[in-house]
Amino acid sequence: MIEIFLGKYNYWIYITLMMIGFYAMIAKHNLIKKIIGMNIFQTAVFLFYISIAKVKGGTAPIVWEEAIQYDNPLPHVLILTAIVVSVSTTAVALALIIRIYKAYGSIEEDKILEMNN
């Protein structure tokens, strides 16, 4: 039992973070809070990628004579790309929120829906 929780703690961390983010994206009414949730959600997946890149006893993937083993650098590179995507998504979302605020005078989803009806 303890093995499942402690031995694979990286997965538990990423799942917990992911669900926190997911909850915020769905349940929060404030548009900014949704975006914060979205960032947590995406970062959780990034952490998952980084954690699977770790090799037992490995060092940073830079050539070094004393190194016995290197961590897998590929997931790191993939996540660099994904971080760029995440930053761009956040930028687009924030730009949208600014325009929504100008158009509706509010960033509370329920108020905006009221105005639409």
Binding site: I52, V85, T89
Partner: protein, 493 residues
């Protein structure tokens, strides 16, 4: 060195570079941005035709980016399937670009036209990249390029509702893309590769692994959101309704189709047909969902007053058809699906273009206000009628061909229940299109007499698409021939 060797990468590079050139050249004169877009989409179209012809001569084309040999480097693959979809999508993109300038000039503030075309080209580049890539992480990147550009394009709508529609799409689209990213991570974790062909070799040994199955679940949900499969379609109607007319046409005709293509790639190229049929019978779920989508999309479309919203709901039904064919997974049904991709791109693109022309001339989107429009805008309405007939599936239109093959596929799979589903939905679509046609031709009052038909720059593209509906309906052997090869390739175990 022969330049045609680099065609596979140029099909993505050209729109991508033009997205950078447009803001620069647009400073001289705004119209130049449009010229660059036309040139870029047209050359992409020509290249995709040349690629498809090369595939027929020499077989599968594999292009190594930076000359890194796959599975280490990124591979671009053109085969019967991606070649076919490339031609369809780049053709539609070209036609809609030609159409766009008048409509964009009316619906978008002048100082935003140049950035609009820049984002437009990014969107096209993302779609073409999704089709041609043979690398699963590259697929994710292109999904995000096209989606992000798509959010921005939808937000360019005139009303403030467009902003909310775009925001909701962004939230759902990001959830979908992150799920796909997670699925990719799971597959990479157990196989150590990102190349689709390589994954196909390595995965069968791991079909029992929980990790692989979880990965597949994430792909399924993520892509189902992207293609707006029925219970996950919430973002679509508002996005298509409030987007500028050109964007509505482009999104409806291309974005979800390319999403379906990505789904086919994951199901049949990364995984084998055997996986979705036997190991994890996910095709059963898809059969059920697609039948619900077909009926629900049509029923919901009947209740709509706004014509764009009606077309959007009808899109959800059409996605159901395509997924139905994939889930039946035999040769006829997949031919039906692939032709329906062509088909829906032509019809829905054409219909949205006509609606855009009506908005341009009159500003009307409510179906009740369409009364007498047949007299005022006879040519536009003729194109609309052809599109509508094809959507219903009248013989001699391309809509009939795909439905025929889908029904044939259902019978061959022994699932005859889906034949009535297809028939009922065709009747329902006849109902909702009749509402419009009836108003257009058989009611008199309404549209003021000073309204005349749309300018030739808008009519020609709409008519080209309508003509294609009929050409490929009569010369059905052309798409059937091409997709026949694609279907055989996909089903090879």
């Amino acid at each position: 060195m022969n330049i045609s060797q680099h065609f596979p990468v140029m099909i993505v590079i050209i729109p991508l570079i033009s997205a950078v050139i447009i803001p620069l050249i647009g400073r001289i004169r705004r119209i130049y941005g449009w010229y660059v877009s036309i040139a870029a989409t047209f050359s992409s179209f020509l290249i995709s035709i040349s690629l498809l012809m090369t595939v027929f001569e020499k077989g599968r084309i594999s292009y190594w980016l930076g000359n890194w040999e796959p599975p280490w480097g990124i591979e671009y693959v053109v085969d019967y399937l991606s070649g076919f979809v490339l031609v369809v999508i780049s053709f539609i993109a070209f036609i809609i670009t030609v159409y766009s300038i008048k409509s964009v000039g009316k619906e978008i503030p002048e100082h935003r036209i140049t950035p609009f075309y820049s984002i437009y080209m990014l969107f096209v580049a993302g779609l073409l990249g999704m089709i041609i890539t043979g690398d699963i992480f590259n697929l994710y990147v292109f999904i995000e390029i096209s989606s992000l550009a798509g959010y921005a394009l939808i937000a360019a709508g005139r009303k403030r509702d467009a902003l909310i529609a775009s925001y909701n799409y962004l939230i759902l689209g990001t959830i979908a893309a992150t799920f796909i990213l997670l699925g990719i991570g799971y597959l990479y974790m157990v196989t150590g590769t990102l190349n689709m062909a390589d994954l196909r070799e390595r995965l069968p040994l791991l079909y029992d692994s929980k990790v692989v199955r979880t990965a597949f679940a994430f792909f399924t949900v993520g892509l189902s959101i992207k293609i707006a499969l029925f219970p996950l379609h919430i973002w679509l109607p508002n996005a298509y309704t409030h987007a500028p007319s050109v964007v509505g046409a482009l999104q409806a005709a291309t974005a979800t189709k390319v999403g379906v293509y990505a789904m086919i790639r994951i199901m049949f190229t990364v995984f084998k047909p055997q996986f979705i049929l036997e190991v994890v019978p996910v095709s059963q779920i898809f059969l059920f969902l697609s039948a619900v989508a077909i009926i629900a999309g049509s029923v919901l479309a009947i209740g709509q007053r706004d014509i764009r919203r009606m077309l959007a709901y009808s899109s959800i039904g059409q996605i159901g058809y395509i997924v139905l064919g994939i889930a039946l997974a035999n040769k006829s049904s997949i031919i039906g699906s692939l032709i329906h991709i062509l088909n829906h791109a032509l019809m829905k693109g054409g219909l949205f273009l006509v609606v855009g022309a009506v908005v341009y001339k009159t500003g009307i989107t409510d179906i009740d206000d369409f009364k007498g429009l047949g007299k005022r805008m006879p040519f536009s309405m003729a194109a609309f009628t052809i599109g509508a007939l094809s959507m219903v599936g009248v013989p001699l239109t391309v809509g009939f061909v795909s439905k025929w093959y889908l029904a044939l596929g259902a019978l061959q799979a022994g699932m005859w229940v889906f034949v009535p589903v297809i028939l009922i939905s065709s009747l329902l679509s006849a109902v909702y299109f009749w509402r419009v046609i009836n108003n257009i031709y058989f009611k008199d009052d309404g549209v003021p007499a000073r309204i005349d038909d749309a300018p030739a720059g808008m009519l020609m593209p709409a008519f080209t698409l309508a003509a294609c509906c009929i050409i490929f309906g009569i010369a059905a052997f052309i798409p059937v021939y091409i997709t026949g090869f694609a279907a055989e390739m996909l089903l090879r175990g």
